[in-house]
């Protein structure tokens, strides 16, 4: 066997360095990452990267920061398995490999000029935050902005300072609900679907963007359809087991679609007949 070095390969990493690492909550850790030499990641909101820890492996992680934020990007990781446990051990100054940005993000050009309804369930706020902050940074290019956020308990709320800022803004309507409250909680209690009926929408020009756990989509979409929002104006982002990130390895397939290459963002119209999607 002869060994040769390939100049180009979809599996080759950029070198990344962790600029900042801290716990956001009991289970989630926040990382601020920069590419070597100040190289721009140049991502779209909703895209993801494959993060490599030498000796451990690779995993797909959503980019949580908006592309309007230059010089670094942000990742937030919950500790659930082998890779994420290793990731939680990383601290400022550690090196990681970054492949990407990968996939197709939210259709920013299509959303421009329209009203937006963001629906984030649980960790769905991590990828959705990239779009929300992008919209807030380009606020005048969009119509009404509604943000609905739901999670299990007040303890699970991520990005607390940022949520407060969103809440204070006059050009953004923000509501939040938890499944189970604690004594200090003053907000809504209930599932995220309970917030949808109360919103005033112009069905012609509202785009709904929902990101959350698989079980959430069915109920949220049903509520949105009750509001008469057309199917092509509903966008979702799926989580699947991505391994290669370039549409070959087959792990993330949803019917005939590759979640990593054709998604992870899909319009509901495109996937509603796909038996493996919802």
């Amino acid at each position: 066997m002869e060994r040769s070095v390939l100049l180009k390969s979809p599996y080759l990493n950029h070198e990344g360095k962790i600029l900042e690492a801290r716990m956001l909550s009991k289970e989630e850790k926040y990382f601020k990452v920069a590419l070597k030499g100040g190289k721009l990641l140049d991502h779209e909101p909703g895209q993801f990267v494959m993060v490599a820890i030498p000796g451990v492996g690779e995993a797909p992680l959503s980019i949580s920061s908006s592309p309007t934020q230059l010089g670094y990007f942000e990742l937030v990781v919950r500790k659930v398995g082998m890779f994420t446990s290793a990731m939680h051990k990383l601290e400022e100054g550690d090196q990681i490999g970054i492949r990407g940005p990968l996939g197709i993000g939210f259709p920013v050009q299509i959303l421009e000029g329209n009203d937006l309804l963001f629906i984030a369930g649980g960790l769905g706020i991590i990828p959705l935050r990239s779009l929300i902050n992008f919209v807030i940074d380009n606020r005048r290019d969009f119509g009404e902005v509604n943000i609905l956020l739901g999670c299990k308990t007040p303890e699970n709320l991520l990005f607390g300072d940022e949520l407060e800022k969103w809440q204070k803004r006059l050009d953004v309507n923000f509501s939040c609900t938890v499944d189970r409250a604690d004594p200090e909680w003053k907000g809504n209690v209930g599932l995220i679907t309970s917030l949808i009926p109360g919103i005033n929408l112009d069905r012609q020009r509202t785009f709904a963007i929902a990101v959350g756990p698989p079980v959430m989509y069915k109920y949220v979409i049903a509520e949105l359809l009750k509001k008469d929002i057309p199917e092509r104006q509903i966008y979702v982002s799926f989580e699947r087991h991505m391994k290669c990130g370039v549409g070959h390895c087959g792990h993330c397939q949803i019917g005939g679609l590759y979640c990593c290459k054709n998604g992870p963002v899909f319009s509901y119209g495109k996937v509603k007949d796909n038996i493996e999607a919802l």
């Binding site: 066997m1 002869e2 060994r3 040769s4 070095v5 390939l6 100049l7 180009k8 390969s9 979809p10 599996y11 080759l12 990493n13 070198e15 490599a52 820890i53 030498p54 000796g55 451990v56 492996g57 690779e58 995993a59 659930v80 398995g81 890779f83 994420t84 090196q95 490999g97 698989p214 989580e239 699947r240 087991h241 391994k243 290669c244 370039v246 549409g247 070959h248 390895c249 087959g250 792990h251 993330c252 397939q253 949803i254 019917g255 005939g256 038996i275 493996e276």
Partner: protein
């Protein structure tokens, strides 16, 4: 360039011996009573000219079971995309497996192109070999329309009465012919005999299942909710044999392997199977294809439905390996028949 050349059967052993002196040659050899495998050979006697599809398809050379994609050194923060490959000749590839290689070529040239696959493939010289009759009862090359050569080779051998007639498809193939120097330009009689064989084949190879080639796609498109998958669910053992032996199954897993010094390591690619339970499982334990029936349905859809939209061809070559190897006797032809029978009457009959 003579498009067709001939080789006397008596010169065949000499031809292979000369070929093996030039380069490594792999060809089908007998492994057991009804099993064959592509292995390195040095003489013509080792080759089984009559063979049923090998245990593993030639895929094992194009997409090795284990391969290094990236090598790294943590201390020097050095990452290199690497390829381990060699130049060799693969002799005796049947038309079904040629079709399989063509499918893989399409997948891995899809952007972003897989440089490991592409560079390795270009170093392999492919010599095809014609089947004049069915290999066994499992094959469905007639239905999949793969009984005749449709490109994808450098040289293509067809056995006549006392000699081979060889189609020269590429310059690389012509070079090899010239170097071996045992071939003569084909005469008219040889070409006529070849035409006779092809005419006879048209009589022998017929669609094995009563459905038109083009209707297969719509049959599978409408078969997501069919009870046939429930029956398969009850029989399938999730052993993943069917995907390992399939010439067009290319799903893989990627793993990081680090040396004991915890400094040097590599990213490797391994064959994986959509039939194994954790294949579609995500961190946290949610499994998007938890049932055996659903996974088998996915395998069939990946052969007859999805690639038809994407690459305008079926990813089943009709080689019959999945049915031959299945421990639970799940049979491709029978599955298609069952799907036709349970679909609305007359919708899919030819």
């Amino acid at each position: 360039m003579n498009q067709y050349v001939v080789l006397q059967l008596s010169d065949f052993d000499d031809c292979i011996a000369r070929m093996a002196k030039l380069q490594m040659v792999v060809a089908p050899v007998k492994r057991g009573e009804k099993s064959f495998a592509f292995e390195e050979i040095t003489s013509g006697e080792e080759i089984s000219i009559k063979y049923i599809p090998t245990i593993l398809p030639p895929k094992k050379y194009f997409l090795p079971q284990n391969e290094t994609l990236v090598e790294y050194n943590k201390r020097y923060n050095k990452w290199e995309a690497t390829l381990y490959s060699e130049e060799f000749i693969i002799f005796g590839v049947h038309t079904c497996d040629l079709a399989g290689i063509q499918c893989l070529n399409m997948v891995f040239s899809d952007k972003p192109m897989d440089s490991n696959y592409y560079n390795r493939k270009n170093r392999i010289l492919i010599i095809g070999l014609e089947c004049t009759d069915y290999c066994d009862e499992y094959a469905s090359c007639g239905l999949m329309n793969n009984q005749n050569p449709k490109g994808g080779y450098d040289l293509f051998f067809t056995e006549l009465k006392d000699r081979f007639v060889i189609h020269v498809n590429t310059v690389q193939g012509e070079d090899l012919i010239n170097k071996i120097a045992l071939f003569k330009p084909a005469d008219k009689a040889a070409l006529e005999e070849l035409e006779e064989i092809r005419a006879k084949k048209r009589e022998i190879f017929k669609p094995e299942v009563n459905i038109g080639h083009n209707e297969l796609k719509s049959l599978f498109e409408k078969s997501f909710q069919n009870d046939v998958w429930k029956d398969i669910h009850n029989r399938c053992l999730s052993c993943a044999n069917c995907t390992n032996v399939c010439p067009t199954c290319y799903c893989y897993d990627m793993e990081d392997e680090i040396e004991l010094d915890l400094n040097q390591g590599k990213l490797i690619r391994k064959w994986d199977s959509c039939q194994s339970r954790p294949f579609a499982m995500i961190a946290g334990g949610e499994n998007f294809r938890p049932e055996r029936g659903g996974r088998q349905r996915h395998r069939y859809m990946r052969k007859f439905n999805y690639p038809y939209d994407k690459y305008n061809r079926y990813f089943c070559t009709g080689c019959g390996r999945c049915s031959r190897t299945c421990m639970a006797r799940i049979n491709l032809k029978e599955t298609i028949k069952a799907l036709i029978d349970t679909a609305k009457p007359n919708t899919f009959a030819k």
